[in-house]
């Protein structure tokens, strides 16, 4: 059998008999009832919701880490913060081999 010919013939049959475009009775009313029941999505509201959720998660993390900082025992250091800072800043100065020439 000539399959290409059969293919062409069947496609021609599909073209010759297109489906109908009848719309069922009161279809429009049913669609309108459906769309009225579903509010349109507001992009701004979606963004706001997502941002609020993100903000909530961030606050939760802040609280968690604050709690951990307060509850965990602090390391005792012999010097205070200002001395530690000075030490860090000046640690590079005075190393052998440093030269500005």
């Amino acid at each position: 059998m000539n399959l290409s010919g059969l293919h062409r013939k069947l496609i021609a049959a599909a073209r010759a008999q297109p489906p109908g475009d009848q719309v069922p009775y009161t279809f429009e009313k049913r669609v309108m009832a459906l769309v009225a029941a579903r509010p349109r999505m507001d992009a701004g509201a979606l963004w706001a919701r997502a941002l609020w959720r993100g903000a909530g998660i961030c606050v939760a993390f802040v609280l968690l880490f604050s709690a951990l900082t307060l509850l965990l025992p602090a390391k005792r250091s012999s010097s205070d913060l200002s001395q530690d800072f000075e030490k860090t800043m000046l640690s590079a100065v005075g190393q052998d081999g440093d030269s500005f020439e």
């Binding site: 293919h7 496609i11 021609a12 049959a13 599909a14 073209r15 109908g20 309108m32 579903r38 349109r40």
Partner: protein
Amino acid sequence: MLSVPTAFGIVKKMERADAELIAAVGKGDTASFEPLVQKYSPQLFATARRYARRESEVEDIVQEVWVKAFQKLDTFRGEAPFEHWLMRLAVRTCYDFLRRHQRNREDMFTDLTDSEVDWLDRFVAEPDGATEEAAAARQLVERVLAQLSPPARLVITLLEIEDRSVKEIAQLTGWSIPLVKVRAFRARAEMRKVLARMVRSKYL
């Protein structure tokens, strides 16, 4: 017959009317959506009937298209006619339907009706004698299309039955042009296999 400027003027007027209705819906006037539903539902039904057999499924598809259209109306920019935007939505909804209802494509050719068998016999004996207007031919086409995978069925329907260009199909489906061409090639090969299976089941 309308002159070209008059026909163009009427098209422009219709597009303005659609744009006004869409703007009204955007401002919260939901009732303005109904004229759009009335105007374009026939086209949507004709499209959906190419992909679904049962009327209940056809109605579900078209309802889904309208609900999506209403939800996404603010994404319609008005660069192309509303009809094109709506048809894109319709084609994609039909494709989703095909994928959801992808049945196990068992052989549907074991129960060909007498009229279908007669039509095939007539085609074998004299190809020109088997008329395209015959109901049996239409039934055979539906059997064959039902056996194709969703992308193959979509491409064959758009490209060969509706005679759309590759560029149009790419716009409707969201596929790239090379992808449409690859799918068209595969779809034709798939259809040949399905036809071969149909012929084998008839004569064995």
